[in-house]
């Protein structure tokens, strides 16, 4: 299992700090073997990596990539949904609206943010922030990491489907640049509801899919344990999707996962976002909206 491998790698690296001579060499050999295994992951292993609890979370991206973040809470109708974080910040001195799914690093945090599974209020908050970004001419940068929209009673009572649909419709004609980065799990409409963008980037071990692999396996083969087959069949890795030409770029991660070298990750991401913004900000709003429409219009055209 991928988790055990990463844990062993971390233990070895910590042991290496005090080890000497033959013991150090032995540890180094084992470390190299692990790194080798971790450098060539199957789709299922990538999915597990995308869910790895210590992977960077949205608050870390916000801290590392932006300054002066001002969090905005609430949908102005019903409640504050903590499974989506959003607000205004500066990117290299330029105001932007930042938002994304919020997952926790442990069980308490995850209970507070509902494991990154928003209800309609979360999507409506996101929409409120995006419309405000449009009003003030701020680009929108969204970070996607969710197992999906929350399938609960209240979410249905308050129109989960309508909230997602509304975001898709509004994002498609937002008159400011939208950049979306899938950092971990990009699962189903719950992910897409923050992701209709001019540029779609994915981290090397992120996945993006119409359904979770477990959901696919249990619906199609009545067996959630066939996750491995579903991961293969769904072609959900960043590499698959770049190959299809349906995403715009892949942000490399350290061997063993994004959490192993966050500095390098953030530096690379900073360059990617800056580049995308440069390219998009030169376009007038009509061109931006027309090109975004065309981007999605061609997906699936036989």
């Amino acid at each position: 299992m991928i988790k055990a491998m990463i844990r062993e790698l971390e233990e070895i690296e910590s042991a290496q700090r005090t080890a000497q001579g033959a013991e150090f060499a032995q540890l180094a050999a084992r470390r190299d073997a692990l790194l080798h295994q971790l450098s060539d992951l199957t789709p299922e292993q990538k999915v597990l990596m995308a869910r790895y609890p210590r992977r960077p979370k949205i608050s870390q991206y916000v801290d590392a990539l932006f300054t002066d973040f001002f969090e905005q809470r609430g949908d102005r109708q019903c409640r504050e949904d903590r499974s989506i974080l959003g607000g205004i910040a500066l990117f290299h001195g330029r105001p932007v609206t930042v938002l994304g799914h919020r997952k926790g690093g442990n069980i308490e945090e995850n209970l507070a943010c509902n494991f990154g599974m928003p209800g309609p209020e979360g999507y409506r908050k996101a929409l409120r922030l995006m419309k405000q970004a449009e009003k003030f001419g701020r680009p929108v940068i969204s970070f996607i990491d969710t197992p999906g929209a929350y399938p609960g009673m209240e979410a249905e009572e308050r129109g989960q489907g309508e909230a997602i649909a509304r975001n898709l419709a509004e994002m498609s004609r937002l008159r400011v640049p939208v950049i979306s980065i899938v950092t971990g799990e990009g699962s189903s409409g719950g992910a897409l509801a923050l992701g209709l963008a001019d540029r779609i980037l994915m981290l090397e071990n992120a996945y993006y899919s119409v359904v979770t692999p477990e959901g696919c396996a249990s619906i199609l083969w009545k067996d959630p344990k066939k996750r491995d087959e579903a991961c293969m069949a769904l072609k959900l890795t960043a590499q698959d999707l770049l190959g299809f030409g349906v995403i715009d770029g892949i942000v490399p991660e350290a061997v063993g996962g994004a959490q192993r070298d966050t500095q390098a990750l953030f530096a690379r991401l900073d360059r990617e976002i800056a580049q995308a913004l440069d390219a998009l900000e030169g376009k007038d709003a009509d061109t931006l909206v027309r090109e975004r429409y065309a981007k999605y219009r061609r997906i699936g055209l036989a």
Binding site: M153, E162, R173, F244
Partner: protein, 259 residues
């Protein structure tokens, strides 16, 4: 030849059943009706003209078993895709119509259905015609993975663009409308209608029950529930659908979009 009503178990002569548009004459339950039968009943005689009849989606992921399953669905239903699109007149009012048919692959939206729906919306936009779409769908078609997920974005963007240009879109939700179809074009109508007792929601009832660990109350996510919670303008029995649509089309005639 008779039809047995799945709701009340009573038998009805096939001709009577179809004359009632697959609504049980005994108990009034609305049973699935084929897309073509629905359109034929709805449109003025001789005005129905199907669009993009031969357009079909592909197998973009080369998904195991999908091509075979698709072929079997086509064989079984005589349909090429889960949606039929057309132009026609209702009481003399011209409109573009799209009807999802849950009998084909559970009405799921893959690239074929997404493309047909988008073309219908764009046709309505360019011809400046009202758009009426009937949904019945289990959601996105899993076997087309990311590509089917993106049909939600594509169809929603098309509706938004159509709306910006002043087009009238009437969305009619029929049993069942769930998943990615609910979370895209089906929820974006200027006017939202539903047939009685249709299951309408994003998550399916079984998934919700598994998540919350309890049974859902009677009527949860049904049309009446959706109307109660503010997502439906009116519930319209199938027998009255033509009259109501005709009235809505008439009410929107002569409107001018302010720009």
């Amino acid at each position: 030849m008779t039809v047995t009503c799945p709701a009340c178990g009573r038998e009805t002569a096939q001709a009577v059943w179809h004359a009632h548009l697959c609504v049980c004459p005994a108990c009034g339950s609305h049973q699935p009706i084929a897309a073509r039968a629905r359109l034929t009943a709805l449109c003025d005689e001789g005005t129905l003209a199907e669009m993009n009849a031969d357009l079909v989606g592909g197998d973009p992921l080369d998904f195991p078993g999908y091509a075979k399953k698709l072929a079997a669905q086509r064989e079984k239903t005589g349909m090429q895709e889960a949606v039929m699109t057309a132009t026609g007149r209702i009481d003399g009012h011209p409109a573009v119509l799209a009807v999802l048919d849950a009998q084909f692959f559970m009405g799921s939206m893959g690239t074929g259905a997404g493309e047909k729906i988008t073309r219908a919306i764009e046709y309505a936009r360019d011809a400046q015609l009202p758009l009426i779409m009937f949904s019945a769908s289990g959601g996105a078609r899993m076997q087309e993975g990311f590509f089917s997920l993106m049909q939600m974005a594509k169809t929603s963007a098309a509706v938004a663009d159509f709306s910006d240009k002043g087009g009238l879109y009437i969305s009619v939700l029929t049993h069942p409308t769930t998943g990615g179809v609910t979370a895209s074009f089906a929820s974006l109508g200027d006017i939202m209608l539903a047939e009685p007792n249709a299951l309408i929601g994003f998550a399916g009832p079984r998934v919700i029950e598994q998540t919350i660990g309890q049974r859902l109350p009677e009527g949860f996510q049904r049309s009446e529930f959706q109307q109660e919670h503010g997502f439906i303008d009116q519930i319209v029995p199938r027998a009255q659908m033509r009259t109501v649509l005709s009235r809505l089309l008439r009410l929107h005639e002569g409107g001018v979009k302010r720009t």
